[in-house]
């Protein structure tokens, strides 16, 4: 265990340090001349401060569609989690394993069909 995941752990440590090196290097090489309009939030050439207060609120109201797609994603992600060990074991199992998986898939496809039917898979 430790021989293989020890290397992954080592990799993780290096992977965390690695992006910090160019950032640190750039810190010594780059100029630093901040001014007010440079530090402003980018807004297509307009001054951010001139906006009315409610328009300065960046947190726009997102559409519910985002949540629906995340829901579909969660459901199918879990399906995948069950599919992988089944796929590994399938060779040594019989046809009944395929039948059971088809039942499982059909039930989940009903979820997809429901969302499809209700027009939830349309972005507009």
């Amino acid at each position: 265990m430790l021989d293989r995941y020890g290397l992954i752990g080592l990799f993780a440590i290096v992977a965390i340090i690695f992006p910090l090196i160019p950032l640190l290097l750039a810190r010594f090489l780059r100029p630093r001349k901040p001014n007010r309009s440079k530090m402003e939030t980018y807004e297509c050439g307009l001054e951010f401060e001139d906006f009315p207060v409610e328009a300065q609120q960046v947190w726009v109201q997102f559409r519910i569609q985002y949540y629906i797609f995340a829901l579909m994603f969660v459901v199918f992600d879990i399906e995948v989690v069950f599919l992988y060990p089944w796929a590994v074991a399938y060779n040594s199992l019989g046809l009944y394993a395929l039948v059971e998986m088809i039942i499982f898939l059909v039930i989940l496809v009903m979820a997809l069909a429901y969302a499809w039917r209700k027009g939830q898979l349309e972005w507009v």
């Binding site: 519910i64 829901l71 969660v74 992600d77 879990i78 989690v81 069950f82």
Partner: protein
């Protein structure tokens, strides 16, 4: 190997932190996060007990891991429904503070 109680203590700590977050946070989404933490603590215990039951003996099977798998499934379903409820409440009452949602109180 590390003795079993280490993992049990970690599970207990995570569970209690989750319990505190679920009971004390005002924000409904944070309450849900606390519940997810509690479910994680349960999973730590399940997997730890699976690992430390004697391998090779008749009682040793994969029950712990498979239970953990089903708990994760359940956690996902719970999060999906819980967050949908929070969004629905937000859309009708414009708040996610659980103390403001009290029409069922009396």
């Amino acid at each position: 190997m590390i003795p079993l109680p280490y993992f049990l203590l970690l599970g207990a700590a995570v569970f209690c932190i989750g319990l505190f977050a679920a009971l004390a946070r005002r924000n409904a989404v944070a309450i849900l996060m606390g519940i997810e933490l509690m479910l994680n603590a349960v999973n730590i215990n399940l997997v730890a007990f699976w690992r430390y039951t004697k391998p090779g003996t008749p009682t040793w099977d994969l029950a712990g891991q498979i239970f953990a798998l089903f708990v994760i499934t359940l956690a996902a379903a719970e999060a999906a429904i819980g967050l949908a409820l929070i969004i629905a409440i937000y859309r009708s009452r414009d708040t996610v503070n659980v103390e403001d949602v009290d029409i069922m109180k009396w």
